[in-house]
Amino acid sequence: MFQRSVIARRVTSALGTCVCLASIACGADEARRPASSASAVEVRDDAGIDVRLDRPAQRIISLIPSATETLIALGATQQIVGRTRYDVAPEVAKIPSVGGGIDPSVEAIVGLRPDLVIAWANDKRQAIREKLVSLHVPVFVLRTEDTTDIFRGIANIGRLSGRDSAARATAAWMRASLDSIRASVAALPRRKMMYVEFPDPPMTAGPHTFIGQLVSLAGGNSVFSDNTSLWPTVSMEEIVRRDPDLLVVPVGEYTQNTLERFRQMSGWRDLRAVKHGNVVTVPADLVSRPSPSIVESARVLRDAIHPEAAR
């Protein structure tokens, strides 16, 4: 089993690491003149709409926790004026919440006088965007499925917040870190495993999600890598037939014994992985967030899949 204390320490340090490295990388010049360039920015968002700001946003409301993390990592914490109730980063604990990510209080948003709202592309009704745009609040929509989306999101948030060079430095640091994690398992055999997003009905991360890609980078070979859905719901029979050696399970808290629960669930208890006790938990909070923290997620996944490569 994975050491609990190690995970806990890693999670809390994950963001700190990002912020630290990003601010070291971006250097002192940007710190002295925090995003005050008067030039207009125009960026196409992930819904295909061009968002134009007269100057980089100084009062940003992030409706996406991962975008909040990205802003923090780029050193733009001072520019955040609103967040959702799902944000956990300590840097924004004192910043007012505007409610949920897809059902925020529009009134609270308008009351904070934002010059940019970063919102989910996931709301299929698009009601919030329509409402805010009609009230002349610029909305930038993010859709994040794979790691390419994550890097594009970081670059876009960098441009919108006037922190281009910090965004470039962060992306370079992330690429280098991910490369070194990939290198650390290059010589090891890829483990036949399954990422159990949800046990009943069984759901896993498809190969085109950032989690699927990180699992693969960390030396895992998902038994469902042939399923091209983003988050495939798979049958228990098919799991038993493909019989993974290892289950990686994202969990919210560590009070329950995950392995014990799998030993009691029909179907799961017949898997080789469960019989041999090869059930490893990873912090759901960390691995589910498509932000610069994917570096830390990749490391946690690598340590889960290949403990022998962990340092």
């Binding site: 819904a47 109730r85 007012p96 919440s97 505007v98 409610g99 949920g100 897809i102 059902d103 925020p104 209080s105 529009v106 009134e107 609270a108 308008v110 009351g111 006088r113 996931n122 709301d123 299929k124 009704r125 698009q126 009601a127 329509e130 409402k131 009609s134 009230l135 983003l230 988050w231």
Partner: protein, 348 residues
């Protein structure tokens, strides 16, 4: 069950002996108070002075936007939807002579939900925001037509019992279709669809308010004009016919109008439960079931109730908005039970 609609819990119960005009004035004041509260209370707190300035369009532009573009249209939409559901509920209860009748009983809500879910699942709602309410309205109207088609194909005249059953089965069929679509949809679509089905006035705008007004006013005039025939129908269809009511025409016009009214309300705010069932009953318990008074009183009471519920839903938990259906049931049920149990003659 010919006059079950009067819910004779205590047939001799003394009712509030208010003249109709006094009831209407009292309820209008209640609506006005609830509207003032709705504009006053919200996630962003502001002083009365700021509030008045904002209503007049002066002062801080953010506050002006909050009051004039968010709170006012939302309060009006809640009032209109509440009125529409209560009036349509009262009409259905009179027509079907069934105390369990409510605006959604003929499959309107399931039809609207099926239309809304279709636009969500196909991604149409993302490309064209107005496709969702239009599809919801179309779904509601189509399901209504289907229900009537089934009811008319059984027997010569419109049998309200067959109509009720047709409503129930069409509704069940549409709900199954919705879950079938959602079973194959991605999680985002499922979440968006469920948010819609829970009902909310959060997307109110002056446009939705003006559309609702243009539906509600003519529908209300038509139904009020049918109040006397509806009274006679509540006694029984043959009695009504003897007394000179053209029963089939009255039923058809009343059903059609009430259903279209519900469809318009559901298209704007999703399916908000409970208002259409309980508000007319509450008014009936207080002031009797004469539709000439019941319909306007229900409209005003429904408006005041839904505005109050909407204000609670968006302010009770800070910036976290509760689904309005939770508030209408949690607040409405105890009030209604109290009304039901009110000892006879306590208010005379």
């Amino acid at each position: 069950m010919s006059d079950a609609v009067r819910i004779r819990v205590a047939p001799t119960r003394a009712r509030l002996a208010w003249p109709v005009s006094a009831r209407l004035v009292a309820l209008s004041i209640l609506v006005l108070l609830s509207l003032v509260a709705a504009v006053r209370i919200g996630a962003v707190s502001m002083s009365l002075h700021t509030l008045f300035a904002a209503v007049a369009g002066r002062g801080d532009p953010a506050m002006v936007t909050i009051v004039r573009e968010l709170r006012l249209p939302r309060a009006f939409q809640a009032a209109l939807v509440g009125a529409a559901l209560a009036v349509s509920g009262a009409t259905f209860q009179a027509l079907l002579r069934n105390p369990l009748a409510e605006p959604y009983i003929l499959g309107v809500s399931s039809g609207a939900a099926a239309g809304a879910v279709f636009t969500v699942v196909t991604g149409l709602a993302v490309r064209m925001v107005w496709s969702l309410p239009i599809a919801a309205f179309a779904g509601a109207v189509l399901s209504m037509l289907l229900v009537f088609r089934i009811a008319f194909s059984v027997g010569r005249a419109l049998d309200t019992r067959v109509l009720l059953l047709a409503g129930v089965v069409v509704s069940a069929f549409l709900v199954a279709l919705i879950w079938l679509a959602l079973a194959f949809a991605d999680t985002d679509s499922v979440r968006s669809a469920i948010f819609w089905m829970m009902g909310s006035n959060a997307n109110a705008s002056w446009r939705s308010v003006s559309i609702l007004v243009s539906c509600l006013v003519p529908a209300f005039v038509i139904l009020l004009g049918l109040a006397r025939p509806l009274n006679l129908l509540a006694i029984g269809e043959s009695t009504a016919a003897y007394l000179g009511t053209s029963v089939e025409r009255t039923k058809l016009v009343a059903f059609g109008t009430a259903t279209l009214l519900t469809a318009a309300a559901v298209a704007m705010s999703g399916t908000i439960g409970f208002v259409g069932l309980v508000v007319p009953h509450a008014v009936r318990i207080l002031w009797g079931s004469d539709n000439r008074s019941l319909l306007p009183c229900s409209a005003l009471a429904g408006a005041a109730f839904l505005v109050a519920a909407d204000t609670l839903a968006r302010s009770i938990a800070g910036t976290n908005e509760l689904p309005i259906g939770i508030v209408t049931a949690l607040v409405g049920v105890p009030c209604f039970v109290w009304l039901l149990r009110r000892p006879t003659g306590a208010i005379a």
